[in-house]
Symmetry: none
Subunit: 278 residues, 2 copies
DNA sequence: ACAAATTTGCAAGAAATATTGCAAACTCAA
DNA sequence: TTGAGTTTGCAATATTTCTTGCAAATTTGT
């Protein structure tokens, strides 16, 4: 029996104050699920003691147990790798594609909470001012690395994808200079060779830009510019590249704008030409 | 300043115990956001006092303030959910990133008008039943091709990325058999060599799946399965890969589900291993 | 290898949160 | 209107959670 059913079963025996509390819970369940008894009581305009009593009346051991039930029900906390499957099964119009699109939408909607326009502009500026750009990404991140290499080559930038193999990487880094920029990606774990890459870049004075998920916040040594935003999808299982890819696209567009003359149109014409003859 | 920035700021000065705490937070932010300092500490195997101190070190007034920040950023309450919908749908935020996110959202919202659940399921089935998978994409599409190669290799499928160079392509196609599947991508123009690839596949009886933008409808010869949905972005300017990438992700998830037993769990464990040792 | 500095856990106690006895306020029936 | 029954808030108490001084353990520099 779901929590809300449990509550509505009691609906006839609820006192006025209790009813106000329940209405409040139904109205904003997540807020109630996160707050304290006192907060809920205040929102409903009743005394906290009443909230405490309500929890017991509804059959819970304590207010804490009631709140836990609320959290279970209303807060999406990924429990297992099968969460997505579960979501699909439960949702009425459950299609994989639809659910996926919904999650991406939600993640995209929050993107600006993590990345400021300045960060985009600065990243674009660093890359466009660089004499050469070295792009580093491995595992899934290699996909984005490849994309950025392609995009910046279209701008006419001297762009290279760094080897994922430590030896090749070391060799490529020998030529790194102070006018160069390193763009790197990391999700989940910092890639092998990351530290060496960053240290070398710092030594020679090359600028470093990093695009990452949450885990980027822990990276040491720190890049000059860090653009970190959580990805969408299941924590433990399948995380998509939509959010970081959108950040990349924003940088590409900003880069196109900072290149003054070259507007998007020119980018496109060039792009079409290249695609046609590629 | 966002939580991730605060963490990043302190990343170099974190003590071992503090780092373990932060890793724990990053790995399962929602759990941390809901729990107490003691619970987080226990999960990280350190003393709760350390958790309390970490909160202060990151610049928060108290552990409670730290947890509030976690909730803000990582728990999708209804307020945050509706907030983005409004922001995204209506207002033009005036930033590149915001505008981009808005466009992607719109395109994603329409994706189910073009792709049915059956198409996703069939594509997944074809790929998972194939003995070998050959993936073909060039220009920007190469990015998605690479992604799919990585994803299906994780499923343990014998997956190969086809050469974009006509000669190499011809050579690789020699071994194509009736149990194989070809997954190809095309945007704007059909790639060079596309016709030859499709004809060869038809001759030997290999199944073909194509993911494309609007232009896919015009392709000849026709693939066995065509998944075409318009991309986001200006028609003539900068079109992103978000929509086709989401279709790809849906196929990967569907493939994982049809692989019944192990599905995402296996994908995850194997994936983590691969990433760690890659 | 030693001393200084840092980190960590322990445990006391501070603060926040929840519970409950009690009395005032309220409701309803006669 | 009165009185029995119910509901509610108050305030004291209990419980949970957080903070901090201190000392042990660990690390760092010489």
């Amino acid at each position: 029996m779901s929590l809300l059913e449990k509550i509505s079963d009691q609906a006839t025996t609820l006192t006025p104050s209790e009813r106000r509390l329940v209405e409040n819970v139904i109205d904003s369940p997540t807020t109630a699920a996160l707050g304290t008894a006192g907060e809920l009581a205040k929102a409903a305009g009743v005394h906290e003691a009443t909230a405490s009593r309500l929890a017991k009346k509804l059959g819970f051991e304590s207010y804490a147990a009631f709140r836990d039930a609320l959290r279970d029900e209303f807060i999406a906390t990924r429990e297992t790798a099968t969460r997505f499957e579960k979501t699909i099964a439960e949702s009425t119009s459950g299609t994989i594609l639809g659910e996926l699109a919904r999650e991406e939408t939600q993640a995209l909607g929050r993107i600006e909470e993590f990345i400021t326009p300045e960060q985009i502009a600065e990243a674009a500026q660093i890359l466009m001012r660089a004499q050469r750009i070295f792009v580093y990404g491995y595992g899934n991140a290699e996909v984005l690395a490849l994309m950025m290499v392609k995009r910046f080559r279209r701008f006419g930038k001297d762009t290279h994808q760094l080897d994922t193999d430590p030896r090749g990487l070391a060799e490529q880094m020998l030529g790194l200079g102070s006018d160069d920029a390193v763009l790197s990606f990391a999700f989940r774990r910092p890639p092998r060779g990351y530290a060496a890459l960053m240290e070398t870049a710092k030594e020679v004075g090359a600028k470093t830009v990093m695009i990452s998920g949450k885990s980027g916040a822990l990276l040491t040594p720190r890049p000059d510019r860090l653009l970190a935003a959580p990805r969408s999808g299941d924590q433990d299982a399948f995380q998509t590249l939509t959010v970081p890819m959108t950040i990349c696209n924003a940088i590409v567009i900003a880069a196109g704008l900072t290149a003054k003359e070259e507007s998007l149109k020119k980018l496109d014409r060039l792009g079409q030409l290249i695609e046609r003859f590629e």
